[in-house]
Symmetry: C3
């Protein structure tokens, strides 16, 4: 029935956003469900998932820069654990996305892409995609 699809992501720096739209699209297609709801789920507490612009690299940079400024690495209130900033960023961005599926595809706006957000890399990460119809 509702099979869970797995997406593996390899990150290469401490904090970055990686466009996973084509990987999510392929996972939804593999599920064989044409019409329904998909959940993309991040199994890690120092990373997250967001939907952002698919075109201007300045937007991705702005998101990482804002979070670095708002939740500094190793500073002040969040210094108790060395990577506490990454955990806080994960809770601010969120670990799961709920998407609409139509004609076997996740529906996105013209300028939208799905991004995996790494906050404590480089690491090997695993995401789940589940579709119900």
């Amino acid at each position: 029935m509702a099979v869970t699809e797995i997406i593996d992501v390899r990150t290469t720096t401490r904090a970055e956003t990686i466009d996973i739209t084509s990987l999510v699209r392929a996972a939804v297609k593999r599920s064989g469900i044409d019409d329904g709801i998909a959940v993309v789920f991040c199994k890690h507490t120092t990373a997250g998932l967001t939907i952002q612009e698919n075109n201007d690299p300045a937007v991705k940079a702005a998101l990482i820069a804002h979070l670095a400024q708002a939740v500094p690495h190793g500073a002040g209130a969040v210094s108790a654990a060395t990577n506490a900033d990454a955990h806080v960023k994960s809770s601010l961005i969120g670990a799961s996305l709920a998407l609409v599926v139509e004609a076997g595809k996740p529906v996105l706006g013209t300028w939208q892409a799905i991004y995996f957000c790494e906050f404590d890399g480089p690491r090997n990460r695993q995401l789940l995609v589940k579709v119900v119809g």
Copy 2:
């Protein structure tokens, strides 16, 4: 089966929250599914969706004011794109909501309303509502 409903929203200022509860309720009812899960999805990367208080206008103002202060328009780290602040706010608030549906209605707490959050208006915006049972 699981039809996708469309909600059109017209915003009138750069940053505002618009109560879309009655529009979402009508969309869920049109879906014909009495019991299940609904996803409300925003097709834009400079806007978002949140659940907030339905009564005190000071709460809506506080959310917009906090975000304006935390992610200033055109300042510092987020100046690379002129509306980069709106993109960052969109990722902080989120582009989709997952709701519980019972008796043909999205279940909300006594004080909850569903808000569309505009961060780069005024614009015409489109939301999707999908229900599975």
Copy 3:
């Protein structure tokens, strides 16, 4: 069919995170659905839900401390309502979580737990869990 399960939570301080993983697991089991998607929904606008680390208490403390610093209680832009900070924190963290369900259980990473986030306690709170397969 898709029954809605209720979880009651009693908080004891103004701002805290409470591990509700076992409560969500029990609710998913009670639903009788082995495979699908679960939504955990918070019926309050001064609280939220997040997924965070299940081990190091410093991480929970860092999240509360960051939010206290970023959205001060009773200060500046958010002073219009006395608990406006709690409302803003609720929108930043979010009121619902979408989870993947397999073999009758919500799937979590090794280090993940599900937390209820109280921002204006102590109070009695109610959460909903809905599973569709």
